[in-house]
Symmetry: C2
Subunit: 219 residues, 2 copies
DNA sequence: AATAAAATTTAGACTAGCCTAAATTTTATT
DNA sequence: AATAAAATTTAGGCTAGTCTAAATTTTATT
């Protein structure tokens, strides 16, 4: 049986590995799940015994196929639950994380299959993150950060990098949401901030920091 | 913080006290939650320290108002989740218990309020059990066991005593469901089994044991 | 290459919950 | 009322997961 805690470790490792390196450090994990490095070391030994991770003392860890499967299943459940909360229960996209963090550990294949059906098999969650399928397959994200584009480019918002409620509420307040069209009117020389037009209607200035955290595809 | 385990103890105590005595024994609790009496003794001390139960060594336990509130809140969540599973996700009434047993421990007031709203504020769960309101108030059940009635009585099924999947599936197979009308055609002298007519259409024999586990009100 | 700093692991201890076996208290029976 | 049986509690131990402090290994810097 996979405990709640074990699942959280595997998910953390998966997420740390996802974009960056091919190996995660003990400290990075400790940081991510808000525990101490010593506790992580303990747990890594146990996960390795169960063949869920590849682990050599002092050398960092990666997930075995078995561990990756567990991690992706948790992520699938997390994202489906987030979708459910937003689509069916009127949660805002900045309110779903903590509850989904609990719901993702409910064990019932039927339950998650029915939720998936109830939501009509969504491909992405409310933040634009892809939802792995039952086999752990992920649609690869071809979107890039808004900060990579140039004046005149016309783009569509597909996701966010930062998922913090503070950032998400800022986007709401600025009238930015997934699926909205953005045209880069100007990139300000001084601080690289962007003047953008949203849905051909409103113009808005956003900082480089904000632009970095908005994911888009070209239209 | 109320742990998962703590909540299960309080729920068990509530359910054991519900109909019968005013005090529960250690063994009864051990039995209910499938643990050993020694473990229960340990836990009772802790619950008493937290003022969740009234407990004197060797004298059995009852819930304090604080403990009762926790128990009723868990029961509320359990029954709302069962309702959700049946009404929205196509679960059968014999399939919901184990999943609801997990879902009842999710902590989020907003979540359960939204589920309640989504279901349009149901008063009873799929088994006919009343759903406590946010304050822990319970609609009192005025239904009685079908075994208490006599030939000629016309009744409506409102609930079940036994909640086991086996019994529930037997009812399904026999064409019995909540809200259905029953007329007692005859009570067989020999074994007190009943011949009943369902919804003025089909007749059926049921054992005394089965009759005892069906709750009804007079029409 | 040697050493200092940083990262990681080990040792030893703690808590929540559980267990078995032994001791104690209550209840039932003579 | 005394004793046997049943119920309950205590004592002592176990596991999962956490922690701090100390030891070890790796990495960075001189």
């Amino acid at each position: 049986m996979n405990s709640h805690t074990e699942e959280n470790y595997l998910k953390a490792i998966y997420k740390l590995i996802e974009h960056d390196t091919d190996v995660v450090t003990t400290n990075a994990i400790a940081d991510k799940i808000k525990t101490k490095a010593a506790s992580v070391s303990d747990m890594l030994k146990k996960l390795a015994d169960k063949k869920l991770i590849n682990y050599q003392k002092y050398q960092g860890v990666s997930l075995t196929p078995k561990g990756q499967k567990v991690a992706l299943n948790i992520i699938r459940k997390h994202r489906l639950w987030e979708m459910f909360l937003v689509e069916k229960l009127d949660f805002k996209w900045d309110e779903v994380h903590d509850v989904a963090e609990q719901l993702e550990h409910i064990h019932s294949d039927k339950l998650i299959a029915e939720i998936d059906k109830f939501l009509n098999y969504p491909k992405v969650d409310p933040h634009g993150d892809p939802i792995p399928d039952v086999n752990g397959k992920l649609q690869l994200q071809k979107s890039k950060s808004l900060s990579n584009f140039s004046t005149g480019d016309i783009l569509v918002i597909t996701g966010v990098v930062d998922h913090s409620p503070a950032f998400l509420r800022y986007l709401d307040k600025s009238g930015l949401a997934l699926g909205f069209e953005i045209k880069i009117k100007e990139i300000i020389e001084f601080d690289k901030s962007l003047q953008i037009m949203i849905n051909k209607k409103n113009t808005l200035f956003i900082s480089l920091e904000v632009a970095k955290n908005i994911l888009v595809i070209t239209k």
